[in-house]
């Protein structure tokens, strides 16, 4: 691979990594507001290391949901990393069990997107490791800043954090609804509407957090029959 291509890939990967890592501050603050202590918050960023799943877990807990509902939401969002892993395995081709275990930890939206977008296998690998590593460091450092900075805030600041969590989910959702971020934006919008409506409709009748999982299952089941008719 050429030196300019290499440095361009590195620059893009590190740039994206720094920007994404910065969001860790929003997660740290949201986690603190949900009642998790700094150690629990940091355990999530260090071990779970998947932003949407982390937000889902603390979101359900913060809303007063049960532990199983919170864990279930995090795992449901984590399933897409499984698909990314399938895509990444041939590219990264880890030779050892340890290499595979290490690479798997950094398989997330951004590292996969950068690796797939890079021209060629060598640059793809470089993009994966540079993006994953930068985000891992930035996300954890900024989580700590957010978690420590959010403690001991007053009523207005708590109201601000209450508004931050749904807005963060909306921001994570938004690209999936646009032509730039999805191959089927219209289907994604139908799914979005379905998920929101089912969740709100169930809210008065089921324990907090369960309506979220029920909405996903309902929408997934409703979407399944159409797949058989659709040519691959």
């Amino acid at each position: 691979m050429s030196a300019p291509a290499r440095s361009r890939t590195l620059r893009d990967a590190v740039g994206l990594g720094l920007a994404v890592g910065f969001y860790g501050i929003a997660f740290g603050a949201a986690s603190d507001a949900a009642g998790l202590d700094v150690w629990q918050t940091m355990t999530l960023s260090l071990l779970m290391f998947s932003g949407a799943s982390q937000f889902a877990l603390v979101g359900v807990i913060g809303a007063g949901g049960s532990a199983p509902a919170a864990v279930g939401s995090a795992l449901l969002l984590g399933t897409r990393n499984t698909v990314y892993g399938v895509r990444m395995a041939p590219l990264l081709a880890p030779r050892t069990v340890l290499g595979r275990a290490g690479a798997a930890h950094w398989v997330i939206d951004e590292s996969t997107a950068m690796a797939v977008a890079a021209p060629g296998r060598e640059l793809g690998r470089l993009a994966f490791w540079a993006t994953g590593g930068t985000i891992y460091l930035g996300w954890n450092a900024m989580t700590l800043v957010g978690a420590l900075g959010a403690s001991g805030l007053g009523g207005a600041a708590e109201a601000a954090l209450d508004a931050v969590v749904p807005a963060a989910f909306l921001a994570l959702l938004w690209p999936r609804l646009t032509a730039a971020g999805s191959t089927e934006p219209r289907a994604q919008r139908r799914v979005t509407l379905g998920g929101a409506v089912v969740a709100l409709a169930l809210t008065p009748f089921v324990p907090v957090g369960v309506q979220v999982i029920a909405a996903v299952v309902a929408v997934a089941l409703a979407g399944r029959p159409r797949t058989a008719e659709r040519p691959a």
């Binding site: 920007a19 939401s73 990393n81 089927e184």
Partner: protein, 105 residues
Amino acid sequence: MSDDVLWTAVVVASIGCYLLKLAGMSVPAAWVEQPWVARIVDFVPAALLAALVAVQGLTSDDRIVVDGRLAGLAVAALALALRAPFIVVIALAGATGAGVHLLAG
């Protein structure tokens, strides 16, 4: 929720999410590349995130509640439509939530 339960949730969910990543690196591609599996996985995030937006933005316990969070969501949607970066979206939503809290006293 007690601290023990909270810790259990944190650790179990973290290990589970890691195993989901590891599974992808380890299973034969054909298992996951079934069209219906791919389609469900493609739609789960949108359904889940939408449900979370609705529940986090509009409910409190088992009731539908309209407060500063909805105003924050509206401002966030506007900012996203104008292609504002994530952190700006979040900051605007937070400021809106705090503003409504102060105005509502």
